[in-house]
C-alpha cells in the first residue's frame, strides 16, 4: 500500500465498490447469524442461570429478578444486570429466599459467585462459583474442598437490631479455627482465595440483605416492570 506507483492504480470507484460491498455482505452475515442464534443463546443463558440457582437453592420453583429502583425501593426488573439478584419462590408460591450474584477481586482475577440467602434461617444457605481464574490446585479448591463448601450450609447472616447491616461481619478464619456460625473455615494453602470470598460475600450481603429483608416480602410478583 505504501508503494502505489509500482502497481497499476485501481480506480477509486472499484475500491469503494469492494469495501462497501464486502462491508454489506459481512453485515448481512453477522445479522443473520445473530438473529438466528439469539433465541438459543438467551435460552441457554436462562437455563444456565436456572440450573445454578436450583443448585444453590434447590427448593426454588420460580424466580423474579429484582433491583433497587429510583426511590430506593426494591422492585421487579427485566433488565439483565451484570450482577443480578433474584427472589426465589417455592412450590407453594412462598418466598423461600433470595439468590444473589457477587463479584470481587480474588487471588489473580475477578471471582464471580452466586449465593442463596434464606429469609427463614437468616443465613447463607448455598454457594457456587460462577467464574474464577484462581490458581488450579490451590485457589480453585474453594470449588471442590468439602469442608469449605460445608461453610455455606448455614452461614449466619443475621442483621443487626436496626436492620441496616449484618450483625456479625462475615470473615474467613484459618482452617480448623471456625468458632462462630458467621465465620468461614478457610483452606490452608488457599488462604487468599478463601479470604477474598469472605470479603465478596460480606460486601454483597451487607449491601443487599437489609434491602431484601425490608422489601422482599412486599414485592409485587406480577408487576410488569
Amino acid at each position: 500500500m505504501n508503494t502505489p506507483e509500482l502497481q497499476p492504480q485501481t480506480s477509486a470507484m472499484s475500491m469503494y465498490r469492494a469495501i462497501v460491498g464486502i462491508g454489506a455482505m459481512c453485515a448481512l452475515v453477522i445479522v443473520v447469524v445473530f438473529q438466528s442464534t439469539a433465541a438459543r443463546i438467551r435460552d441457554n443463558q436462562e437455563r444456565f442461570l436456572a440450573a445454578a440457582i436450583s443448585e444453590v437453592l434447590p427448593v426454588t420453583e420460580e424466580t423474579i429478578a429484582v433491583d433497587v429502583g429510583e426511590n430506593g425501593q426494591l422492585e421487579k426488573t427485566s433488565a439483565s444486570l451484570p450482577l443480578p439478584v433474584f427472589l426465589a419462590y417455592g412450590s407453594n408460591g412462598d418466598l423461600v429466599g433470595a439468590v444473589l450474584t457477587a463479584e470481587g477481586m480474588g487471588y489473580q482475577d475477578n471471582i464471580r459467585v452466586l449465593y442463596a440467602y434464606s429469609f427463614e434461617k437468616q443465613a447463607i444457605v448455598g454457594f457456587k462459583i460462577l467464574d474464577s481464574k484462581e490458581t488450579p490446585g490451590l485457589g480453585d479448591r474453594v470449588e471442590i474442598e468439602p469442608h469449605f463448601i460445608a461453610n455455606f450450609e448455614a452461614l449466619d447472616a443475621r442483621l443487626n437490631s436496626s436492620g441496616d447491616a449484618l450483625n456479625n461481619a462475615i470473615v474467613t478464619v484459618k482452617q480448623g479455627e471456625k468458632t462462630d456460625p458467621w465465620q468461614i473455615d478457610g483452606i490452608t494453602g488457599a488462604t487468599i482465595t478463601s479470604e477474598a470470598l469472605g470479603n465478596i460475600l460480606n460486601d454483597s450481603a451487607n449491601g443487599w440483605l437489609p434491602i431484601l429483608e425490608r422489601d422482599a416480602i412486599s414485592i409485587d410478583r406480577e408487576a410488569t416492570p
Partner: protein
C-alpha cells in the same frame, strides 16, 4: 462497573497476569522480535503505545455500540477502528516526529493485527473498566509486555552465544525460557490486591 483501584489494575496487567506470560497474548511478536535486545525494546515501546491508542479507541467504540445496542459488531469494529487509528497515528508521527517514526514506525503495521491489542480491548470491555481504568490497564499491559519482551531478549542473546543443542535452538529454547519466566512471574501472584 469495576471498582478495582488503579494501582491494582496496573500491577495486575503488568505482572500478575502478564499478557504474554499468563495470557499468551502477543506470542508471535514475542518470539519474533525477542532475539535482539534493541528490536525488543523498540517493539515493546511500539506495543505499549498502540495499546494505549487501542484502549482509548475501544472505550469510545464501546460507548457507541452500547448506545445503538449492537454488541455483535464489537469484534469487527474494534479491529477496523484500531487498525485505522494506528495507521493514522503512524502517518501523523511520520510528519511530526520522523525520529520516533524511524525508531518504532516499522513495527506499527505489524502490531495492529496482534492478539495482544485486540485482547486488551476485549478484556477491558469484559471487565467494565471506566475510562481512566482502561488507560491504566493499557499502560500496565504495555509495560508488562515490554518487560517480558526485554527479559526474553536478554536471555536469548545470551543463549545465542552458548552451545545450545541444535534441536533446541530457536523456538524450543524460546518456549522453555518463556515457560521458566512464566513460572518466575507466578511469584507476583497476589500483588496489588
Amino acid at each position: 462497573m469495576n471498582d478495582a483501584s488503579h494501582w491494582s489494575i496496573f500491577l495486575n496487567a503488568a505482572l500478575v497476569n502478564n499478557f504474554v506470560l499468563a495470557y499468551f497474548l502477543g506470542i508471535c511478536p514475542f518470539f519474533g522480535v525477542s532475539s535482539k535486545l534493541e528490536t525488543a525494546v523498540r517493539m515493546g515501546g511500539a506495543v505499549s503505545f498502540v495499546m494505549l491508542v487501542a484502549s482509548v479507541c475501544a472505550f469510545l467504540i464501546n460507548l457507541l455500540l452500547d448506545a445503538v445496542n449492537a454488541p455483535f459488531l464489537r469484534i469487527i469494529s474494534y479491529i477496523l477502528v484500531i487498525s485505522s487509528t494506528v495507521q493514522l497515528v503512524e502517518m501523523l508521527m511520520k510528519k511530526l516526529s520522523p525520529t520516533t517514526f524511524r525508531a518504532m514506525g516499522i513495527y506499527l503495521p505489524l502490531i495492529t493485527t496482534n492478539c495482544a491489542i485486540l485482547g486488551l480491548a476485549l478484556f477491558q470491555t469484559n471487565r467494565g473498566y471506566s475510562f481512566t481504568q482502561s488507560v491504566v490497564y493499557s499502560l500496565g499491559a504495555g509495560i508488562g509486555f515490554a518487560l517480558a519482551l526485554v527479559l526474553m531478549a536478554g536471555v536469548r542473546e545470551k543463549l545465542e552465544l552458548n552451545e545450545v543443542p541444535d534441536l533446541v535452538k530457536g523456538t524450543v529454547a524460546a518456549l522453555v525460557v518463556a515457560g521458566i519466566l512464566s513460572m518466575g512471574f507466578m511469584g507476583f501472584a497476589g500483588l496489588g490486591r
